[in-house]
Symmetry: C2
Subunit: 349 residues, 2 copies
């Protein structure tokens, strides 16, 4: 069980640490690259070699000071990130060298996970029969679970209803839209650029997709949702949220998952000036944080893996190579350059 065939002492761990709290878009000056030796695992702990990291819009929020649903990353700390890695050394009975695990690895090459953290549900072995490591960061991972529980528990879509999702080509958006189709809804995406929109419709099977960069979201939304919007899954906030508020159906549900358009603001967040549409339409707007649903991940993962297997769910990742590209790769999320779930590949198994 507890074994350590690799001489860890011969390895160094390259790390990306938060150097400063960014103002607006993070720049390279907001990061420090450091190296330190790789130590043997603590009693009951493991050492994991990072293979791939999940880069997500929420990371921008973790870089800010102040109370949120999770503590901010401290200045000088390794940047928080979820990822897939391989166990290099184990003093934990439940993990063997060679196991592939999903965990909060941080933006670094190696992560030492102490015994206490292993007991939380955030560290678990992945089953590659259900999906590839990249899929375990996408539809089977946090973004997929966010989409699953946000849509099913908060959005509560009924067959025949119209579901709109922004960030439709992103990690959460692709899950939400495909799942809503599987559940019998009419699905309209909103994404940036003709290529993403075409992919969302042709490959993922959405009924329509609106290119917000092309212009008239309001008119296109009206045309695509003649009966109004029953569920809006919002990943972007800002003007698009206001536009969708203007098209709500009676008793609509808005799932507030994120607001990527606002994360790099140096001015206050743009509040939805059409929020009184909630009153007129007896609608509701509700937030979702995926960590509340960890107990139910296994069943949801099994369901999603079934859809992957039978071809009803597709999973697209945008994989960028190399830990050192992290500062620039992260920015792809905020200028909309990523096409599919953004993954940083750090090493091969």
């Amino acid at each position: 069980m507890a074994s350590s065939p690799t001489p860890l002492a011969s390895l160094t761990n390259r790390q990306v640490r938060l150097a400063a709290r960014p103002v607006g878009l993070p720049t390279r000056a907001d990061w420090n690259f450091t190296t330190e030796p790789v130590a043997e695992p603590e009693a009951g702990g493991i050492v994991v070699k990072t293979l791939a990291l999940s880069l997500d819009p929420a990371m921008r929020g973790w870089m800010n000071e102040g109370k949120s649903y999770i503590a901010p990353v401290e200045i000088g700390a390794v940047m928080r990130a979820g990822g897939i890695g391989v166990v290099m050394a184990s003093k934990a009975p439940a993990f063997a060298v060679g196991d592939l695990v999903s965990a909060g690895l941080g933006v670094q090459q190696y992560c030492s996970i102490p015994a206490a953290e292993l007991k939380r549900s955030g560290v678990f072995r992945i089953d590659t029969r259900l999906g590839t490591p990249e899929q375990w960061l996408n539809v089977l991972g946090m973004p997929g679970m966010t989409g699953y529980f946000g849509l099913m528990d908060v959005g509560q879509p009924q067959p025949g209803e119209t579901v709109v999702v922004s960030g439709a080509a992103g990690a959460v958006g692709q899950t939400v839209g495909q799942l809503a189709k599987i559940k019998g809804c009419r699905v309209v995406g909103i994404a940036g650029g003709a290529a993403k929109c075409a992919w969302v419709v042709k490959e993922l099977g959405f009924d329509a997709c609106i290119d917000y960069k092309a212009g008239n979201v309001r008119d296109e939304l009206k045309a695509a949702c003649p009966k109004g919007v029953d569920v809006y899954f919002d990943n972007v906030g800002g003007e698009i949220l206001d536009t969708v508020l203007g098209r709500l159906a009676r008793k609509a549900r808005i799932v507030i998952c994120g607001a990527i358009s606002q994360y790099n603001n140096t001015t206050p967040v743009q509040g939805p000036k059409n929020y009184l549409s909630l009153l007129v339409n007896r609608a509701r707007m509700e937030g979702i944080v995926v960590f509340d649903y960890t107990d139910r991940f296994p069943r949801a993962v099994a369901e999603m893996a079934g859809y992957l297997k039978d071809g009803r769910m597709k999973s697209k990742e945008d994989v960028v190579e190399g830990l050192d590209t992290f500062p620039e790769t992260l920015l792809k999320l905020f200028n909309g350059e990523n096409f599919g779930k953004l993954v940083l590949r750090v090493a091969s198994a």
Copy 2:
């Protein structure tokens, strides 16, 4: 049954009609005063003499063009208003001369209600054993029902939770706060001026009331709600909504009932820039329209009348005399001059 002892032909009906769509606060120029003869009721209809009218913030919205939860008042039409009146003539078997009724009478001295409208639940005899005509416009009427269903169905307060209500001395606010106390909650009001705040605490039994005109709502809210806000019943919108969003407890519910601070804007509505607190706190914000609950009014009225009778619920009305004062009296709502539910007394029985 059907009888008409008063010579209606001898009466004239003074009316207040919408002359123009106001920009900002309505002025006298936005109204036309007209008179017309009082006709006999149509077959199956009744003629009602207006005794008292309910003046409500929502009336401002009805004066605007455009889709809402109810059609706008047309230019040239008698201004819409709910009220209490006495039946002067009846060709309807269910109503006798002398009956006191609650109905959409409009801002006029006499209202002819056709048979079709009588069948809707919006016209009903009031039982003065349960409450005075003024109380039937207040806690037993639309504002009371709005508060009742908004709090109970949308807010869903649990004993021990903290409920905050803005416009606390107004018609809806006084109902919400007292009902939340009865249901075992800690109740904090927000109102304008020391006199209203003192009344809300001393007479209505709220645990605290914050004078938003006195200054620091944020700090006072923090002091009054040490465990955060579980239910916020919002009648005002604007800065106060944003401030309360900043103090939400986990899984909080915000009831969007109105936004009086925004109704006379000549600029776009101020959206809640702290709306991402819904995400952080897994909270929801939901609209209420009282007309959805008419089927359940009788039971709610009976419950509220019981509280009036046993002294646990008080009902304060601000009664202004005279149809001709309507244009100025309405403005009391928007400059916060009304103290209690604003009622326009048009005639005595």
